[in-house]
C-alpha cells in the first residue's frame, strides 16, 4: 500500500520507462483487487438481506394460514394463532405514534422555525440525536420506573408510552429537516400577507412539507412496530385475549420472542409466521415512505 502512495505522489516524470510501466501495472493491479473487494463487500451485504428474507419466506409461508390471523395464541399443540399479538401490536403502535408524533412535530417546528441556532436549540438537537440512537431497552427500563412501578403493574399504556419515546426523536429529525428545505421566500410571502406566524407554520409550512413529515411518521411507525426490548418490562406480553390498556398486553415481537425460544415445533412455526408478517409490514412501510419522499 505504501508503494502505491509513493507512486501516486512521485513528482516529475520517471526516467526509466520500463520501471514506470511495471509500476503502472502494479498500481492497476492494486486498484483492480480493491475494486473487486468492494464488489464482494456489496455482494455480502446484499446476500445477508436475501438470506434473511429467504429464511423468513421459507419458514414463514408454510406456517402462514388463515388461523394465524383469526385465532388467538393457545398452548402448544392446539393449533392457535397470533390474532391477539397482531391486535396488541397495532394498538400499541397506534397509541405510541399518536402520543409521540405531535410532540415530535412541535419540537421539529421549534428547531426549524423558532430556535434555529440558539444554545437551547443546540441542546435540544443534541438530546434528540442521543435519544434516536440510545439503546431501546433503557427506554423500557425508564418507563418501567415511572409507569409500571407507581401504577402497580405492567400495562398496554406503559408499552405505548415506551414506543412514543422512540417515535419522538425520529419525527423531530425529519420534521426539522423538511421544514428547513422550504425557501424563506415562501415564509416572507405569507408574513407579507399579514398572517400571524403560527398560521404561516400550520397552514403553509406544514402543508408544504407534508410529504416529508409523513415520511418521518411512517419510518417511526416502522421502527416501533418491530421493537421488542422496550416492551419487555412495560406491556410484558399476554397470551390471553385482552384489549384493556391497563392490563399486560400482547404484541407480535414479544410473542415471537417467547415462541422462538420454546421447544415446541408448532410454536416455532408460529414465530416464523409472525416474523414474516412483521418484516413484510416494516419493510413495506419503509418502501412506502421512501417512494412518498421521492415524489
Amino acid at each position: 500500500m505504501s508503494t502505491t502512495m509513493n507512486a501516486s505522489s512521485m513528482p516529475g516524470r520517471p526516467k526509466d520507462m520500463k520501471a514506470s510501466a511495471a509500476l503502472g501495472a502494479r498500481r492497476r493491479r492494486v486498484d483492480l483487487i480493491i475494486r473487486a473487494a468492494c464488489f464482494i463487500a456489496t455482494a455480502i451485504g446484499l446476500l445477508f438481506l436475501v438470506s434473511i428474507l429467504g429464511t423468513l419466506f421459507w419458514n414463514g409461508f408454510s406456517a402462514l394460514s388463515l388461523n394465524v390471523f383469526t385465532d388467538i395464541t393457545r398452548p402448544p399443540g392446539s393449533n392457535g394463532g397470533l390474532l391477539n399479538a397482531i391486535i396488541g401490536s397495532l394498538i400499541q403502535t397506534a397509541i405510541g405514534t399518536a402520543i409521540g408524533t405531535p410532540i415530535g412535530l412541535l419540537v421539529g417546528t421549534y428547531l426549524a422555525e423558532y430556535a434555529k441556532s440558539t444554545p437551547l436549540a443546540h441542546a435540544v438537537r443534541f438530546v434528540s440525536d442521543i435519544l434516536l440512537s440510545a439503546p431501546s431497552i433503557l427506554i423500557g427500563l425508564f418507563v418501567y420506573q415511572i409507569l409500571v412501578v407507581p401504577f402497580g403493574g405492567f400495562s398496554g399504556w406503559a408499552g405505548s408510552v415506551a414506543l412514543a419515546i422512540i417515535v419522538i426523536p425520529i419525527v423531530i429529525r425529519t420534521t426539522e429537516d423538511m421544514l428547513r428545505l422550504l425557501p424563506d421566500t415562501l415564509r416572507e410571502a405569507v408574513i407579507g400577507l399579514g398572517a400571524p406566524k403560527w398560521k404561516m407554520i400550520t397552514l403553509i409550512c406544514w402543508r408544504a412539507a407534508a410529504s416529508g413529515i409523513v415520511t418521518g411518521i411512517l419510518l417511526a411507525v416502522a421502527r416501533v412496530a418491530g421493537e421488542t426490548a422496550p416492551l419487555l418490562f412495560t406491556s410484558l406480553g399476554n397470551l390471553n385475549w385482552s384489549l384493556s390498556l391497563s392490563a399486560p398486553m400482547s404484541s407480535l415481537p414479544l410473542t415471537i420472542y417467547a415462541y422462538a425460544g420454546s421447544p415446541y415445533q408448532d410454536w416455532i412455526a408460529l414465530a416464523w409466521a409472525g416474523a414474516l408478517i412483521i418484516t413484510l409490514g416494516v419493510l413495506g412501510l419503509n418502501i412506502a415512505a421512501r417512494s412518498l419522499l421521492r415524489k
Binding site: I44, G45, I103, Y114, I130, L141, P196, I278
Partner: protein, 324 residues
Amino acid sequence: MSQAATLNAAAQPAPFARRSGSLGDVIFAAACRGAGIFVLVLLGAIIAGLFIGGWDAFRTFGPAFVTGTDWDPVQEVFGAGVSIYGTVVTAVLALIMAVPVAFGIAFFLTELAPVWLRRPVGTAVELLAAVPSIIYGMWGFFLIVPFMSQTFQPFVIDTFGELPLVGELFAGPPFGTGIFTASLILAIMVLPFIAAVMRDVFNTVPPVFKESAYGLGCTTWEVVRNVVLPYTRVSVVGGIMLGLGRALGETMAVTFVIGNANRISTSLFGPGNTIASVVALEFGEATMGSLKLSALLGLGFILFVISFIVLSLSRFLLRQKVAK
C-alpha cells in the same frame, strides 16, 4: 416572531384580528418551546430514573459493582464486570468485521457502481437497517448458530486450535452460540448504519478534488485513498462511532445468540453476556424493590453512560463536517 409582530403593528385598522393572531402566536410558540424543553427533561429523567433505580446496588457494592465479576442472584452479590466486558468486546469485534465491508459498500456506491444501480443497491442496504432486531435474533439463532456449530467453528478449531496463543482464542467446544456469533450478528446489524454515513460523507467531497486527482492519472483506489478518505476522515470515524453506539445497546439479537453465561472466557467461541442481554433475560426474575432489580437498573445506567459518551463523540465528529 418579531417580524410578524412589527408587520401586525403596522396594520392598525384591524385590532381584533391582530390580537387573536398575536395570542395564537404566543400560544403556538410556547407549545413549541415547551415541547423542546420536554425533550431535554425527558433525557434528564431517563438518566435520573436509571440512576435512582440503581442507587441501592451502587450503595451496597460501591465501585465493586462496576469491577466485580460475580453475578449471583442467590447470594445477592452483583458485579457488572463480565457484562461490561461482553458488551465492549462484542461491539468492538462487530466493528472490526463491519467497517471494512461498510467501506467497501460505500466505495462501491459512490465511485464504482453505474448510476442506475446506485439507488436500488443503496435502498437494499438501508432496508437491512430497517429489519427489526428480533428478526436478526431468530435468523441468527436458527440459521447462523447451526452453521457455526457444524461447519465454521469445527473447521477453525481443527485448523488453528493447536497453535500456541492463537489457539486460546478458539478453544472450547463448538457451541455455535457465543461471543463470536453475537459479534457477527451485530456486525450485520450495524453495517447499514456505517455504510450509509460513509456514503453520505463520501458524496460531500467536491468533484473538482477528485477530478484533479484523476487528471493526474490516479486510479480509482488512489483517488479514494489519497483524496476522499483524508477529506472525510473525521466524519468516517463519526460514522463508525455511531455504529459502535448502536452495537453497544443492541438487545434482542444478542440475547438469542450469545450463550448467556456470566464468565469472561479467552475463547471467542465461548459463551458470554452483555449488559443488555442480562437485563432482558433476568428482569423477569427480579421482584419489585429487590436488590437484583436495583442491580439491573444500575446496569442500565452504566450502559446509558457508555452509549452517551460514544454517541456524543459520534455527533461531535459528524458535526464538524457539517460546520465546515
